[in-house]
Point group: C2
Chain length 210, copies 2
Amino acid sequence: MTAKAAKRRGDERTASAAALLNATAELLSEATNIDVSLNEISQRASVNSAMIKYYFGNKEGLLLALLERDAETAMASLKALSDMDMPAQKKLKIHINGIINAYYKSPYINRLIHYMVESGSPEASRRVAQIFIEPMIEVYRDMVAQGVHEGVLKDVDPGLLYYCLVGAADHIFHAGYSVPATLGIERLDDGIKQRYAELVCDIYLRGLAP
Amino acid sequence: MTAKAAKRRGDERTASAAALLNATAELLSEATNIDVSLNEISQRASVNSAMIKYYFGNKEGLLLALLERDAETAMASLKALSDMDMPAQKKLKIHINGIINAYYKSPYINRLIHYMVESGSPEASRRVAQIFIEPMIEVYRDMVAQGVHEGVLKDVDPGLLYYCLVGAADHIFHAGYSVPATLGIERLDDGIKQRYAELVCDIYLRGLAP
């Protein structure tokens, strides 16, 4: 095989792997649980199901690769935000909007994290903590310290803040089935998501003031 | 059978059903998911596993009965709180402490609600909305209206408030596996639960002030 042909072959492979990840993300977004079959995924991706084994080993490997891809994007923006020269309150506001948008776009993220941690292998569980939780706590620690220094935030435990903020941001999407009973609408849309983000920002920015 | 014997037989049945519900609650509290087998439950309860079929029909029926029992207690206290002659802010504070204590004591509640709604029958899903979500929204509506009237709460959408408050109260227990990474402790205890409840109360009471 020439170098050019090898490169083309490599590109095709990357494209198949990406198609499988995209199909998995789509199917998980449409579903209310993580019971998506490898067959459905390969059909949606128009990629032979043997390729899942080839690229990812098994379903756990595929789901972990999807989480890693999502985490990479999310944590890169979070780190960039944290490093910006900007008041802590503004960072917090951008961060709250950012996680609400992420859960709105990919409502499967926390469902998948819980699944990997509760039913996955110990390595998968450790990996999830490494790629999602540890970088977030790091940023929360910096953000709270900066806000305390600026005199705009109370000195709260960053770990406890993490739970009540992520829980608040996530629950409406995680518990989307209950929307008819709570809000009297069929399903969540951009308008509700926006109103929700404004409410959460308002509660947390004022609630965390010294 | 004499009336006395029939009553004794009835009491024994009720005791077996209660033992099965208690065993299920215990096993679910110890587990990180809802994969608890009927065998484990009947062994823990020291009740023949055929009795599960007799009393509850199947596993879904047993889990639904457990949720109904938990909901009955929780919703009765919530309704009593709502009806009390007490300022809205104090009601909100007692309510926040109440749900955090409930999730701490029975961390399986929201996991079970999600499971019933996502994987259960349509009837189970409707029943869960009826017993948990509708009564809570009703109380949130009254509490917000009272607080607005007293001039101590902003006029927020009770449905949106429900999600961000329940999410905040629940996530630390739902995501208990992450506690070593976030808080540097092995597992949640009374002290952390108390500090968490104080933080959530403080954020929401100040964050919801007009």
